[in-house]
């Protein structure tokens, strides 16, 4: 790969700064959530963020065409990893979602699977000359790609990630256009599948979570406890919050999974309405910027990838914040970058890196100009 000087010149510093602000907010928040139990969590996250930022920059310099070329390999690697995790994975609270690499590092292949799904769909739409709206028969191939990954993730089972993959690819399919008849068909299919899912795929604790969400008072100290404590944490932050490392709900461990799924509750408690809205605005800006990039994209592939990455951030943020604030059921969906976890950080950075690369090449003819010189 040739390093293109125009690329360096086009490097988008404002969006890089936005990412860095989100990273710093996340790290500060994680520090507060974990300093009592030693800083190993914080240090690991710091390492992941640094690695992620470098990865993001590296990826951004990759030519989109190269990425397109490697799409099938990424997809196959993802499938293999998901099969490996089912065989070799270690079980944590009922789910086989993790592969241990040595005693310190564990990776979560299901997190990574989101990017290959986006790439595969992008490639499908790029190569497909049919124009919208698509019908069900046109989409057999992408549905198979998505369904295979969803199935593998469901087998772990990792309900949250499976839901994410469905939501991201669903958004893409809708964005690219779908016939009304097919929309109705998918709706019927979703409802039809939800019953066997409920009976065969969901474990008791997952059913309990959904039932508890529908009626939180049925078990205030059981599954509803997490949601209630999280809402108390957020609410008690009031306008300006209780201050860094001063959130009683956080520091006295009333909030469950403070580093991961409930990281936003920690932030909302300690920084109040000001901090939580500030953070939400950061994510809004990020997603709007990705969509903006999509609208300028030179190729269909680039556009679909951008929309996919935008959907990934959008759904993660909506589902996670909705969950911790009690408007959605508790599903294990992290808030990208803010929640602790190497796999989800790397996935997020990977996605942004690709979008950045597309953004840097948004000027028509820019690439050709360099190549001719």
């Amino acid at each position: 790969m040739m390093l293109d000087r125009r690329l360096v010149k086009n490097f988008n510093w404002s969006i890089f700064s936005l990412i860095m602000v989100i990273c710093v907010v996340g790290l500060v928040n994680l520090y507060s959530a974990s300093y009592q139990t030693g800083l190993s969590v914080f240090k690991k996250q710091l390492l992941w963020v640094v690695l992620g930022v470098f990865g993001m920059i590296l990826i951004s310099f990759l030519d989109t065409k190269t990425i397109e070329r490697y799409t099938q390999y990424a997809y196959i690697a993802s499938v293999l990893l998901l099969i490996t995790v089912l065989v070799l994975g270690k079980e944590v609270s009922g789910s086989k979602s993790w592969i241990s690499l040595g005693s310190y590092i564990t990776i979560q292949p299901s997190e990574f699977a989101k990017v290959p799904v986006i790439l595969a769909l992008a490639k499908f739409y790029h190569n497909d000359f049919e124009n919208a709206p698509y019908g069900f028969r046109d989409l057999v191939k992408p549905i198979f790609f998505v369904a295979l990954l969803v199935l593998l993730v469901m087998l772990q089972p990792d309900l949250g990630t499976a839901l994410m993959i469905i939501l991201i690819s669903g958004s893409l399919v809708l964005f690219m256009g779908l016939r009304i008849r097919s929309i109705i068909f998918f709706l019927i299919l979703a409802i039809g599948l939800s019953f066997p899912t409920w009976h065969f795929f969901l474990k008791d604790y997952q059913k309990e979570r959904i039932e508890t969400f529908l009626d939180p008072s049925r078990d205030p100290l059981g599954s509803g406890y997490n949601s209630i404590q999280s809402q108390i944490a957020i609410g008690s932050g009031e306008v300006f919050g209780k201050g860094l490392m001063r959130g009683s709900q956080t520091q006295l461990r009333f909030i469950p999974e403070r580093h991961t799924d409930f990281a936003f509750s920690v932030l909302a408690e300690e920084w109040g309405f000001t901090g939580s809205v500030f953070t939400l605005v950061l994510y809004l800006m990020l997603v709007l910027w990705i969509l903006d990039t999509a609208s300028f994209a030179k190729s269909k592939f680039s556009m679909v990838v951008c929309v996919g990455v935008a959907a990934m951030f959008f759904w993660h943020t909506l589902i996670n914040v909705g969950m911790v604030s009690g408007i959605l059921p508790v599903t294990g969906v992290p808030l990208l970058i803010l929640s602790y976890g190497g796999s989800s950080i790397l996935t997020a950075m990977l996605g942004i890196g690709i979008v950045m690369g597309i953004r840097m090449r948004k000027f028509p003819g820019a690439k050709e100009a360099v190549e001719f010189r």
Binding site: I234, G235, E238, S248, F254
Partner: protein, 599 residues
């Protein structure tokens, strides 16, 4: 990609909608309901630890301590800090002398309930055990000592019959006092129960920060939120009892079964109230052991009965005071009326004996009282008839509660109506005759006899006995005061009362008086002996059960009465020789106290 432009617009619109929903939710939680959630988070982390209020003391009329408090060192374990439960159970068992299995059970239970909350092992360990635990603190990790208040009885069993005891609240108590909890200690009987609301005080609290697991957090970060409220000690109950007189009365009765009552004839204040035998309130301090409780409950000497207010006995000849009063007032007799006593009285085919075998010969009322002639009163009783007699019996307060704020029984004031309703039988004249000498159906408590005596002594006022003078808060404020209360006036003229008083003086001071054993040189005593036959004596094996109850009731000084003293010795024998000397002892103590200062 121009053809997607409208889709980007739609997507952006959806995006902003979702963003607004989330911001709206934040607004709702953090702004609209922020204060509410702030309170939730405060309650979440704050645990109230109760600071028990010291119970009020029980003092005598001069403020001398009768029941007070002392610290109790209670042993708790905090499961979180226990390294080796087995070894800890072994060591504790050796130090506290409790069965290992029992301690192990309590530790296991503590682990099960909450690892971070101290669980009680045993209350009130002694000083040696305390020293032992303190010295080995490093090796007894997880063991905590907490200080509480428990009752202390500096005079042991003194006054137990009316002081009562404490115990764990039962369901009835919980209903009675809405602000107490299941494991609280409340007064079960006597003063402790009847003045419970004054004695208890108000518990305070301190707040502690706990984490989600209930573990106490010593993190000064959140200490500014902590509040505390000091406990308010209970009010002191000031009795009308005089500690020294009470002691003297208890000593006088000694190990005899029976009761002694001393009351102020002017106010109705109870100066001493003895019932023997009694339980030992010290057995209840740590919570009574089941075995001990069973023993007390099954004890045939009835240690839980306050004989002075709940014990029912035939009054015997002390009741002749009532018969004489009724006879004089109804003009069946006057002071000159004489009857001949041959040693027995015949009614129809029945013969009623006088206690003196040879008889008293011809006697007037004065001699009949002084020498306690039964035949004289048989005559009075027969001439009165039960209907008229019953009015006087009731007027003296028999057959009804005295109104003392302790458990008491009313006894039986016999009448035609009573017999018809209680026994469904008609009244016989013979029964009037035995009633005249305090035998038969009549049954009274020693307190009732003391009040009868007081009403004669004070010129005819039937008083309500007062055991408590007042209740004073820990800050010295008077919370309640109990003054003189009268229940009625005897329907007797001054002349009748003085005639009876004259005779009662004779009982003690004349050569042939039956109560000479209570005579004192320094003070003129008046009184009346009684020797009550125990009606049910079919079983001849157990001697004591057949012996008569010995009564003596008195007041002094005879000319300006201050105090009435009544002693009843269960199965003691003759009132004159058994009860009268005890009264003398009590009156001597009274004089000594009086000389030393006020009573």
């Amino acid at each position: 990609m121009r053809e997607y432009k409208s889709r980007f617009l739609i997507a952006t619109f959806i995006l902003i909608q979702a963003f607004l929903i989330l911001v709206g939710r934040m607004w709702y939680l953090q702004i609209s309901r922020g204060d509410e959630f702030e309170k939730f988070s405060l309650h979440n982390r704050i645990r109230f630890v109760r600071v028990p209020a010291p119970r009020g003391r029980i003092l005598d009329r001069h403020g001398r301590e009768i029941v007070v408090n002392r610290p109790s060192f209670d042993v708790y374990v905090l499961p979180e800090d226990i390294k080796d439960p087995e070894r800890l159970a072994d060591s504790l068992s050796r130090i506290l002398e409790i069965d290992v299995v029992e301690i192990r059970e309590r530790i296991t239970k503590a682990f099960r309930e909450n690892r971070f909350r101290p669980a009680l092992i045993i209350r009130d360990i002694n000083r040696d055990q305390l020293a032992f635990i303190e010295a080995r603190k490093s090796r007894l990790q997880g063991v905590l000592i907490e200080v509480n208040h428990v009752r202390k009885y500096p005079h042991g069993k003194l006054g137990a019959a009316f002081l009562g005891y404490l115990g764990k609240a039962n369901e009835a108590d919980l209903e009675l006092y809405p602000d107490i909890r299941g494991d609280d200690i409340v007064g079960k009987v006597g003063i402790e129960r009847n003045w419970e609301t004054y004695l208890r005080g108000e518990d305070g609290f301190i707040q502690k920060v706990t984490d989600a697991l209930g573990r106490e957090v010593r993190n000064n970060l959140f200490e500014r939120d902590l509040k505390r409220r000091d406990s308010i000690p209970g009010g002191d109950v000031i009795l009308s009892i005089d500690l020294r007189l009470q002691k003297a009365a208890e000593e006088a009765l000694g190990d005899k079964f029976g009761a002694a009552v001393a009351i102020d004839v002017r106010t109705g204040g109870v100066l001493a109230l003895v019932s023997h035998p009694t339980f030992d309130p010290r057995d209840f301090v740590r919570g009574i052991e089941a075995k001990k409780w069973k023993e007390l409950i099954e004890d045939r000497s009835f240690p839980f009965i306050n004989r002075a207010t709940q014990g029912l006995y035939a009054p015997g000849s002390v009741f002749k005071i009532v018969t004489a009063a009724a006879g004089l007032k109804e003009e069946v007799i006057n002071s000159d009326t004489r009857f001949y006593c041959p040693g027995a009285y015949t009614l129809g085919r029945k013969t009623f004996k006088c206690w003196k075998k040879g008889g008293h010969g011809t006697v007037n009322l004065h001699r009949a009282i002084v020498e306690s002639c039964d035949v004289y009163f048989y005559n009075v009783g027969e001439r009165l008839g039960i209907d008229r007699f019953a009015r006087y019996i009731a007027a003296f307060g028999f057959g009804s509660l005295t109104g003392i704020d302790l458990s008491e029984r009313a006894g039986i004031a016999p009448s035609k109506e009573w017999k018809l309703s209680a026994l469904k039988q008609p009244w016989y004249t013979g029964e009037t005759i035995v009633t005249a000498i305090g035998q038969g159906y009549i049954s009274v408590t020693p307190l009732q006899i003391a009040l009868m005596t007081a009403s004669v002594a004070n010129g005819g006022t039937v008083l309500k006995p007062q055991i408590v003078k007042r209740v004073v808060s820990s800050e010295g404020e008077v919370l309640a005061e109990y003054g003189l209360e009268t229940r009625g006036q005897l329907p007797l003229g001054e002349d009748i009362i003085s005639k009876i008083k004259d005779a009662l003086k004779g009982v003690v001071n004349e050569d042939r008086g039956t109560g000479r054993a209570s005579r004192l040189d320094e003070i003129l005593v008046a009184g009346k002996t009684g020797t009550a036959q125990v009606v049910s004596h079919t079983d001849k094996v157990e001697r004591r059960e057949h012996n008569d109850h010995a009564w003596f009731t008195s007041y002094a000084p005879a000319d300006d009465p201050e105090i009435a003293v009544t002693v009843m010795v269960e199965h003691g024998g003759k009132g004159g020789s058994v009860a009268a000397p005890l009264v003398k002892q009590i009156l001597e103590a009274y004089l000594k106290i009086k000389k030393g200062g006020n009573v």
